[in-house]
């Protein structure tokens, strides 16, 4: 009986693991084709004399809560972005620090009687300010309501057909906005678009812009470089090619305003608002039988500071897992819903089985195999074999991401940097992944037991 249980555990763990990795490898194959096609199109657009599109105007939204240290640099960086027509809307979401006063002093803000339409419900807006020195800058001062609520408030006063949501601590490239808006020009069905987010730790930055990307020197952010490559280059790119992308990073994403308003804007009762909005967009548009596209641009358009301490990493991953759980369960009607097409039949179940249930299965698997080995029900050789196979599969996925990076953007130019990434692709499977599983389990339990939600900046020392 006990032997059968351990045999069952062995099989479950192995099949789950092989299934997960095969699914990722399939996504990877899709991504290789997509990225090759994209790079060819991109190279055509970069030939002198080709592609001088006039871009649609964009409202850039920066939600800010206690961002007095970053906000001036973030706004100044956005003012220099290479884009023809845009406005910047900063939302001070009930900050308890000097965010509003530093903005008011630096940009000479004056109260402005904006007669906006309250199409999305938000926490009360205290005042709207406009910069005297920079006409395209507006600041909304409002009571605290969370990131989603801040974006909704900015959507209400935004004037342009596209809205771009940017985190105050995001580092952009001058052509970031142009790259992410391109899908809206080439395909009028596009309702949302996002790009690749990369790790900025260790890179050279000036005036809020990335000058020279470098791999981080510290081990924790270094591992996250490979992790982000994997997540963006074949995770999101693969799903995007099937129009089944379920997340656009909250750090930098562009939305069609009318679509955003028509689905009710961002939810304020979730901490994973960036994923929830996309899943809901799929649910509502699919069920309404609308023809739409949610697109991922593989270009690295946004750079972010990765946590450098274990506490910071834990905080971030717990929040992500909790956000994932909330987003999936708020839109559960998508699951195996034939009207939802590939999103309901493939992408959503994938997320549920491998991302939501992943930590539970891994915990069960590791515990069962560990106990089986301890009590002598599992052969030591099998124990070693299963652990080794899981490490080799992890290496395979990380190396595939490195391969995609080499055929596309090769941001890290020095061979020594490539070697570092290569070593990290192996090392991350020895401890880091398992640690992540623990953090995800904590996130899972916090979702399950409904711990209090807070909007706080992750620890990025």
């Amino acid at each position: 009986m006990i032997n059968d249980f351990f045999m069952f555990a062995e099989w479950l763990f192995t099949l789950y693991f092989v299934g997960l990795n095969c699914a990722y490898l399939l996504l990877c194959v899709l991504s290789i084709f997509t990225v090759s096609r994209y790079m060819k199109e991109k190279s055509l657009m970069d030939i002198p004399g080709v592609g001088n599109e006039i871009m649609p105007p964009v409202s850039i939204i920066i939600p800010a809560h206690n961002e007095q240290g970053n906000i001036i640099q973030a706004v100044k960086a956005l003012m220099q972005i290479e884009y023809p027509v845009f406005e910047i809307i900063v939302v001070n979401d009930g900050s308890t620090d000097q965010t509003l006063s530093v903005l008011a002093e630096h940009f000479k803000l004056e109260k402005f009687p904006e007669a906006y339409r309250r199409r999305l419900k938000t926490a009360p807006v205290t005042a709207i300010y406009k910069s005297v020195t920079y006409a395209a800058l507006k600041v909304i001062d409002k009571q605290n309501g969370g990131k989603g609520d801040s974006v909704n408030a900015a959507v209400n006063i935004s004037r342009y057909p596209l809205v771009c949501v940017v985190d105050a601590d995001s580092i952009l490239q001058r052509d970031s906005l142009r790259r992410v808006v391109q899908p809206f020009i080439f395909d009028s069905r596009t309702v949302a678009s996002g790009g690749t987010v990369r790790i900025v730790n260790g890179s050279d930055i000036k005036d809020g812009y990335l000058l020279n990307p470098k791999v981080p020197t510290r081990i924790l952010p270094l591992i996250q470089v490979v992790e982000y490559l994997r997540a963006f280059l074949f995770g999101r790119l693969g799903w995007s090619s099937l129009n089944a992308l379920l997340i656009i990073s909250g750090a930098f994403g562009v939305f069609h305003k009318e679509t955003l308003v028509s689905i009710g804007g961002f939810h304020t009762d979730t901490i994973g608002e960036d994923m929830e909005i996309i899943v809901r967009m799929h649910r509502m548009l699919r069920l309404q039988k609308k023809d739409y596209r949610i697109t991922f641009v593989p270009d690295p358009v946004c750079w972010t500071m990765a946590p450098e301490t274990l506490a910071g990493l834990a905080h971030q991953r717990i929040r992500w897992q909790r956000g994932l759980c909330e987003s999936l369960f708020m839109n559960l009607s998508l699951l195996f819903n034939p009207r939802a097409g590939i999103v309901g039949m493939l992408a959503f179940p994938f997320m549920l089985i491998f991302e939501w249930a992943g930590p539970l299965v891994e915990l069960f698997g590791f515990l069962a195999i560990g106990l089986g080995f301890y009590f002598g029900y599992i052969d030591p050789a099998i124990f070693v074999l299963l652990i080794s196979v899981s490490i080799v599969f992890g290496m395979l996925l990380s190396l595939t991401a490195l391969l995609l990076e080499e055929v596309s953007f090769h941001m890290y130019q020095r061979p020594r940097e490539l070697l570092k990434l290569f070593l990290v692709a192996i090392l991350e499977n020895l401890g880091y992944r398992q640690l992540n599983t623990v953090f995800r389990l904590i996130g899972f339990s916090r979702w399950l037991f409904g711990a209090e939600r807070k909007w706080v900046s992750p620890d990025r020392t």
Binding site: T14, N21, I47, P48, R117, L385, L399, F422
Partner: protein, 359 residues
């Protein structure tokens, strides 16, 4: 050694799950090795390509610059593998220089003994090669390539057909508009902004004449687009034409565009009739037109639009109202005192503040 390890694992893996895991792991390990080799090869190739490109760029930029300055410079050897770098460098410099320098740059290109004919690239199936040929032939103003480029105008890929349009305009603007504008009407995949950019190269006079010939007898969607094109190209001839079209317009889009682009004072009589139109964008553009050419008799119309259900209509009406001659602070104050609509009052306050900012 590895065989021994494999045999011992196989021997101890008595269960079927062991076999399964062993083979899956073996395949994965093999793939890991292959991927590692491929990543290394790709990086070596990248370093080699980057070095070659840098060297070719330095060599050819220097050569073309010397030729631009009309100074003697030994012509570097043209290597077949560097052809695209040379074309890129030539096209890049072409975008930077003007006037007589353009002629000198063209002459220096013809002096080169390029081993690959641009005409053969033009007929290549490779999109990138075709693009290089189209851009360079356009920059060279090579009239002998006209027939080949015309064929590319009908290619499925917009990037090719638009590049062909650009090349034709650069070679002979007058002749090109006769070819490009009729194609424009049936190419739904051509971004209009991009086409406008190309047609600007031909010059507004040449383009406007052709647009004028076409605009009367075409369907409403294309008519609205051509009118917008008129506006982008700043064709003065467009203004009376747009008023004429507006007088008989039955399509909302056409009416909206006519009201928006018109700089003809006669449009005001028609604009007044459109303030009660059922579509908000038409009412909004009627407010814009009244703001341009209206007088004090139009103030009640604009005050009415301040109460519109659409924000953009209220906004444009408010801007038109506060910018109208004769409308001063006293008038606005009395108007606000009599307004019974909170939305109208809000938008008016915003418009006053905005116009004050602009001034």
């Amino acid at each position: 050694m590895s065989k021994m390890v494999f045999d011992s694992l196989l021997a101890s893996s008595t269960s079927s799950v062991g076999y399964f895991a062993l083979y899956a792991g073996g395949v994965a390990l093999l793939l890991v090795c292959l991927l590692t080799v491929q990543v290394i090869l790709l990086r070596i190739n990248l370093i080699y390509r980057q070095r070659r490109k840098r060297a070719a760029q330095q060599l050819w930029r220097k050569y073309f610059c010397y030729r631009l300055l009309n100074e003697y410079c030994v012509q570097p050897e043209v290597r077949t593998r560097d052809i695209y770098f040379i074309l890129e460098e030539y096209d890049y410099l072409f975008g930077l220089v003007k006037g007589k320098d353009l002629e000198r740059l063209r002459a220096s290109f013809y002096e080169l003994d390029i081993p690959v004919s641009l005409y053969s690239l033009l007929h290549s199936r490779d999109v990138q090669k075709k693009l290089y040929a189209l851009i360079t032939l356009g920059n060279l103003q090579d009239k002998t390539a006209w027939g080949g480029i015309i064929k590319c105008l009908e290619e499925d890929q917009p990037v090719i057909s638009l590049s062909a349009a650009r090349a034709l305009v650069l070679i002979d603007a007058e002749k090109a508009v006769n070819e490009v504008i009729p194609v424009l009407l049936h190419r739904k995949d051509w971004p209009w902004a991009n086409v406008a950019h190309i047609l600007k190269l031909a010059g507004p006079r040449v383009v406007c004449r052709k647009l004028f010939e076409l605009i009367q007898g075409i369907e409403a969607g294309s008519q609205a687009s051509l009118l917008r094109m008129y506006n982008v190209l700043r064709c003065e001839e467009a203004y009376p034409v747009s008023t004429k079209i507006l007088a008989t317009a039955t399509d909302d889009k056409v009416a909206s565009v006519c009201l928006n682009i018109s700089r003809d004072p006669n449009v005001i009589h028609l604009a007044r009739d459109y303030v009660r139109h059922s579509r908000w964008h038409v009412r909004m553009n009627a407010a814009v037109a009244i703001g341009r050419f209206g007088d004090e008799t139009d103030i009640p119309l604009l005050v009415g639009l301040l109460k519109d259900s659409q924000w953009w209509v209220r906004y444009r009406a408010a801007l038109a109202l506060v910018s109208m001659p004769g409308v001063d602070r006293v008038f606005i104050q009395s108007l606000r005192a009599n307004l019974d609509d909170a939305y109208a009052d809000d938008i008016l306050v915003q418009a006053i503040k905005e116009v004050a900012y602009d001034k």
